[in-house]
Structures are given as structure tokens and as C-alpha cells.
Amino acid sequence: MGIYLPIAEISVNVFVLLAMGAAVGFLSGMFGVGGGFLITPLLIFYNIPPAIAVATGANQVIASSFSGALSHMKRGTLDFKLGGVLLAGGIVGSTGGIYVFAILRRLGQLDLFISLLYVVLLGTVGGLMLVESVNALRATRSGAAPVLKKSGQHNWIHRLPLKMRFRASKLFVSVIPVLGLGAGIGFLSSIMGVGGGFIMVPALIYLLKVPTNVVIGTSLFQIIFTSAYTTLVHATTNQTVDVMLAFLLMAGGVAGAQYGAKAGQRLRGEQLRALLALLVLAVAIRLAIDLFVTPPNLYSLSGAGLSG
């Protein structure tokens, strides 16, 4: 069944989009990530213009992170104060990101920049995760106890000034890295259409030493607002949010996420992380190939004088 997307201005198959949403939802439920980093490239592969894929991806992320954050709020694994500080940084980063987005679009370099960011970030995160999970898998096989980092251990981040206490996270840390992390994620969110969970979660765990059980809820909480802000700004400055497209993806996504979560419970942590790493790397490689392969058309047209 075909449907015409009002903003993307192309006809697409409803079932392809629902299936895409469900598949990504399944994976996001399984791995506890928002799935924006999969949705946006998939939309680009499906010939949705990158600018629309990014803005709509951000819109879709709100739905999955909102539903996830609700569960965490109920369980009390959500640090509102930490989330609020991350959010303050996020709004700043996101504003900057949208400004850069509009400039790149005018220069005709937006598509390239989005692809490059995806290749670099997904490649790095995927590679690190794969190495870490393979090591963990080896360690469990050989019977050795996994080496845990001590919570009292301090790094350079804990020597920065302007300290603040976060009770729910049992944390006393400078606000500078928290704001910085929020800003970085906000920037990526507006340029890549991702929530940033795949960077936020490891950063909170390894850099700020936030207890793992609080990390996902807090990250989801801040992602709701960053991506809502991103959606709003993209809608007003670039008019690139396609609600029809976003809704189809969300509808498939919320259903898929529940089954994914169930499937995820049957797998062990290291196995899950290794699978996710492979998935992330596969997306990165696919995008990288497109950068290097000679395009079928060297010339492209675009309207001049577009504000975004």
C-alpha cells in the first residue's frame, strides 16, 4: 500500500515503513538504545532525503525514549537533577547543531557531513564495543571473574571545580563535564537525528561513574527533551519534520520494542553487546561504502536561496 509523504514529497510503501519501525524497535528494546542511529541511515537508504530523515528521526526518538523513560520513572531509576543539568547543556548544543545544519545545507555539504559523522561515530563506538564484549566473552569462557572498576576510583574529571551533588546517582561531581556531555549529545542529535543514547550511556558509566541502573533512565529522560527541542527547531527553521513518516515509524517501533525487550532477557549482557557492536559496525560500513563508490550521478540540483 503506497502512501504519499507530505514533507518528503515521495510515495513510499506503508508496510516497509512499519516493518522498518518494528525491526528497529525490536533492536532498541533488546539493546536498550533509542534506535535513532539505525532509523536515520535506514531512511536514507530508502531514498528519503537526508535532511528529512534526520529531522523525522529526532521526532521518532521522542516516542521510544518517552515510553522507556516512563518505565524507569516508575522504578525510580531516573535522576531528574542529573538529567536536568545534561538537558541544559543539550539545549545549547542542539541550537548550535541546527545552526551548523542550516549552513551545511546551504553549502550543499549536509549529506556528506551526516554520512561522515555516522561513519566515524558508529565505527568508533561499534569497534570499541566489539573489542570490550569479545574480551568479556573470552573472560567468562576462561572462568576468570570480570574485572570491575571500583566506584571510589577517581579520574581527572573529578578534580574539576563547580561541584554539584546528585543524590539519586550517589554522585558528587563538577557540572562542567555534565554540561559538556549534554551539549555534545545535543549537537549530534540535531545533526544526526539520533537521541545519542549510544554515546550517552557509555559516557555516563565510564566517565562520570554513574551507577548503571540509573544511567539508562536518566539518559532516556534527557533524550526526550533534547530530541523534542531538535524536532521543534527543525520544524520551524527547516520544515523538514514529516509527521506522517514519523508516525508510521513510531507505530511499528513501540510494538517492536516490547518484543525486543523480551528477547533481550534471554541473552547474556556480553552477547547482547557483541551483537549490537556488529550491527553498529555494519551500518557504519554500509555508509562508508557509499562515500567511496563512484555515484551514478555526479551532478545534483537544489533550490538556491533556501534558508535551510
Binding site: S67, M250, G303
Partner: protein, 263 residues
């Protein structure tokens, strides 16, 4: 079920031949008229391209010339003009990057031609150039006239090629047919992505390879339907639209949790 959505949508513009009152006095020169029965066309969201039929008539045709088939008609449907940037990808460190670009002012978004015979059989290339008739004779004004003519030529050719590939610049040889000595019908193609706005239909009359007269009419192409309302709201009330998109996402997320709750 698979494949691109094809809501069949066909539109027909029936044009009434505007027959001018024949004056009794002779000698008379030939003229051409096209008239549109409507001055606006609404296409629905599932529009997948269509043929637009335009009727017209010759005034005072010479019966002898008409019998020998020496009258030729070219009908052009030209979309609104907009500035266009043409970009060329080049390899930088192995990566394909948009490097050079050329901006052209006032490029017709679409340009569909229908003719009685192949263009080269109707008249000389020079007269096409003078009339600025045909996609390859459209003058594209570069924004930066300082660029080398070779570069401008290259980007102009690329612009035409891309437009033709998108179906926006098309040529329908044999698309104009004489139904009687002075009544003709022209079929021009509307691409699936035909731009909205004011289109100009023009008809050119040639007699034995000589340009005689031109006639034009305006046509408003609009999109209609639910999807178009969304598009309009997204552009006219973008802030409210953004708020709506966010609310929709939150409600979907919340409902999804209610329906598929697992904790």
C-alpha cells in the same frame, strides 16, 4: 502491494477551441489560439504523473498549405522559474564530495514540449534560438557571469540532463495532432513531481518552416488533499506543527506502553 504507491490520478483539461469570429474581409493572415477551459488544476497527493491535453485552433489556415501538412505547431507548458544550484561531485581523498557549483537564475522548474514533428524537421536551429524554444535553447542566466564559458556550458548541460532525467523537461514528438484543418490537440506530460505554481502554456505556429504566430494561456497547478494540508501547515504554522509532532510522539510512546506493557 509492493512498489511505489500508485494512486492513479489522471487529470484532463478539456480546452474549448476558441473560434474567433471569421471576418469576411480577405486577405487574412494565419493565427493560432489556445484556450483553457479552466485556469487551475488540482492534483491529489497520490498523483503519479499524467498527460495534459490542450486543444487549440488555427485561424484562417490556407487550405492548400494545410492539405500539404506544412503547418506545424509546437506547444510548451513551462513551469514557474526559480533559481537552481547545480553541484558537481569530485573525489577528495577518495571520498565523493560536492565541490564545484554553479547557480542559475530563473530556471523553469518544468518544461514540457509537444510537437507535430521532430523539432529538427520543423524549422532551423537558429529560429528556435531566437524564440528561445525547446529545452536545449532555454537561456540559463548564471548568477556569477565571471565563470569561464566552458564551466557554465558544462553545468548548463548537466542541469538540462538532470531535469530531463527527473521527467521535468520532456519532449513529446507527435504530441500535437491536427483533428481537422484548423483544430489541433496537444498532449504534454506532467511529471509526478510537477511543481505547483503558475504554469504558462504557449503554442507556436510554423508555416513551411517559418514562424508565424504565438499564443499563450496561464494555468495554475495546485496540490490538494490531506497531505497537502499537512504540507501547508508545516510551512505556515511551523511552530504549532512542531508542537503537534512532539505531542504525537509522546502520545504514541505512552499508548505503546499502555498497550504492550511488560512491567
Amino acid at each position: 502491494m509492493k512498489g511505489p504507491g500508485t494512486f492513479a490520478a489522471a487529470i484532463f483539461l478539456s480546452l474549448l477551441a476558441v473560434v474567433m469570429p471569421t471576418k469576411a474581409q480577405t486577405p487574412l493572415t494565419e493565427g493560432i489560439q489556445i484556450g483553457l477551459s479552466t485556469d487551475n488544476v488540482s492534483i491529489t497527493a497520490g498523483f503519479s504523473g499524467a498527460d495534459l491535453t490542450i486543444f487549440g485552433s488555427l485561424e484562417n489556415p490556407d487550405p492548400l498549405v494545410a492539405r500539404q501538412g506544412r503547418y506545424d505547431v509546437i506547444v510548451v507548458l513551462e513551469g514557474p522559474a526559480k533559481p537552481v544550484v547545480v553541484r558537481r561531485k569530485d573525489r577528495v581523498l577518495g571520498v565523493w564530495v560536492n565541490l564545484d557549483s554553479e547557480t542559475f537564475e530563473n530556471v523553469p522548474v518544468s518544461y514540457s514540449v509537444a510537437t507535430t514533428r521532430p523539432l529538427q524537421d520543423i524549422t532551423e536551429p537558429n529560429s528556435y534560438k531566437q524564440l528561445s524554444l525547446g529545452a536545449s535553447n532555454l537561456y540559463m542566466q548564471p548568477a556569477d557571469a565571471g565563470d569561464s564559458p566552458a564551466t557554465i556550458e558544462e553545468f548548463t548541460a548537466a542541469l538540462r540532463e538532470r531535469k530531463a532525467a527527473a521527467g521535468l523537461y520532456s519532449e513529446n514528438v507527435g504530441g500535437v495532432q491536427f483533428l481537422s484543418q484548423n483544430l489541433f490537440r496537444a498532449t504534454v506530460r506532467l511529471a509526478p513531481n510537477v511543481p505547483v505554481g503558475t504554469h504558462k502554456a504557449r503554442a507556436f505556429l510554423f508555416k513551411s518552416g517559418l514562424f508565424i504566430k504565438e499564443s499563450s494561456a496561464q494555468l495554475e497547478i495546485r496540490k490538494s488533499g490531506f497531505e497537502q494540508s499537512i504540507f501547508r501547515v508545516a510551512h505556515d504554522y511551523s511552530f504549532l506543527y512542531g508542537v503537534f509532532a512532539i505531542s504525537l510522539a509522546m502520545i504514541t510512546g505512552w499508548l505503546g506502553r499502555l498497550v504492550f506493557r511488560r512491567d
